[in-house]
């Protein structure tokens, strides 16, 4: 019994160290993988902590992925590195920017309208920030067009499947919009301030002829969640498959680098606009009589952390684009030399 347990434990040990070895890119595993795994096994066998050995492998793998240490002079490897640098920086930047701006949008609604010249300037800067945000997100979305063009090199069935995975989530979002309206109509209504409202606070989705049905509203809300998260998960899976299967071309990387620069610059500009609007709004008097509740005299606590996050996201995108551009130049140079 104890022997069997020992064998299981041994399997788990090898599994942890073996799993940590996956932190390295494929070209590294081809070159150094077997001997490095042997060293890790030897160190574990002599009594060194498995966790420490695994941590060393993970740290080494991340370092190699970031710096390209020991990468062979193969054009495909450098082009691949450029592609993955773009993917791993742009995707979090776009998702992060969307999340930060959603939080800031609610915070701005809390701040409320302001009076005087400062208040009007703050509001204009905020509006400019909203347009910049839209431009950043649209530029990021345009990057998927590059993936779409790349799929032309795939055969019909795979191409259709991939495009369905990339486009379906957007169709799901439109469907969710309709479901949200329906759930709002079926939910319990109340009258506040002489206006009909639903639990979500929306008034415009309500039709008087639709009866209250909280159970149906709850079922639809759950379906929304499943569809929403399932759709987004499907999108990321399709994107991962696209990154792996769509052939990498230099022109694709060039456009990706351009998108990275625009997104990064946009995030930094967004941080300046939002930061300036917040700084001005603090000093402008509130137009409290237009709102049902007293307007706070200071910005919500999340404001400056959100602005700092936008700066961080912008820097990440700019640095990622620069790194990807460098790798692309090396790939082009190696391909030309070959």
């Amino acid at each position: 019994m104890s022997r069997r347990n020992g064998a299981h434990a041994e399997g788990r040990r090898r599994g942890l160290v073996g799993f940590a070895g996956l932190a390295y890119p494929g070209w590294w595993r081809d070159r150094y993988g077997p001997e490095q795994a042997r060293l890790a096994e030897d160190l574990v066998a002599e009594g060194r902590s498995r966790l420490k050995v695994a941590a060393s492998l993970v740290a080494g793998g991340l370092s190699v992925r970031l710096t390209g240490t020991g990468m062979p002079p193969i054009p495909e490897a450098w082009a691949d590195r450029s592609k993955w640098v773009l993917a791993t920086t742009l995707l979090p930047v776009l998702v992060g920017t969307f999340a930060v701006m959603t939080v800031l949008n609610n915070a701005w609604a809390e701040v409320g309208p302001r009076t005087g010249l400062l208040g009007r300037v703050a509001d204009d800067l905020w509006q400019a920030g909203m347009w910049t945000n839209l431009a950043v997100l649209l530029t990021g979305a345009a990057a998927w067009h590059v993936v779409y063009l790349g799929t032309r090199e795939l055969d019909g069935g795979r191409r259709r499947l991939l495009l369905a995975g990339l486009l379906l989530p957007f169709a799901v979002v439109l469907g969710l919009f309709g479901l949200t309206m329906l759930a709002g109509n079926l939910g319990a209504h109340s009258v506040q301030g002489g206006r009909l409202t639903t639990p979500g606070g929306s008034t415009w989705t309500h039709f008087r002829s639709v009866p209250d049905h909280p159970l149906a509203a709850a079922v639809i809300a759950v379906a929304e969640g499943i569809l929403g998260y399932g759709g987004m998960a499907g999108f990321f899976v399709a994107l991962l498959v696209a990154l792996r299967t769509v052939p990498t071309r230099s022109w694709m990387l060039g456009r990706g680098v351009l998108v990275g620069r625009v997104v990064g610059t946009g995030c930094l500009l967004l941080a300046v606009l939002v930061g300036a609007s917040g700084a001005l709004a603090v000093h402008a008097p509130a137009l409290s009589f237009a709102l049902p509740a007293p307007v706070p005299s200071a910005l919500p606590w999340c404001w400056w952390p959100c602005v700092a996050s936008l700066v961080g996201l912008g820097v990440l995108a700019v640095v990622g684009a620069r790194n990807a551009g460098r790798c692309r130049r090396v790939a082009d140079h190696l391909a030309a030399a070959a």
Binding site: Y32, E35, R38, L39, A55, G70
Partner: protein
Amino acid sequence: MVHSMALSERSDPSLLVLVSLAEGPKHGYALTKDIEAFAGISLGPGTLYGCIARLEGRGLIEALPAEDRRNPYRLTAAGATALREELERAAATSALGLRRLEVGPV
């Protein structure tokens, strides 16, 4: 003692690998044990192979045929020259530092 450990931990692992290989070809495990013996530093497999890849890329070491997933490495002529220059520079710095310590602060 604490200060000397702190300084030695800051040593470049690549230099330690070169010093170890100056004795003769070694594979990863032998390198780890040797460095542990003469420098008191336990290099992890990630750190060690990061150094090996860098040194191999710069042509300072080269791989020998593998035996049972153990790949020995040896110093190249360029590696031996680079190591000698580095050690002479370090020796000159050490000698200067020791002389100044003997004289003491002015």
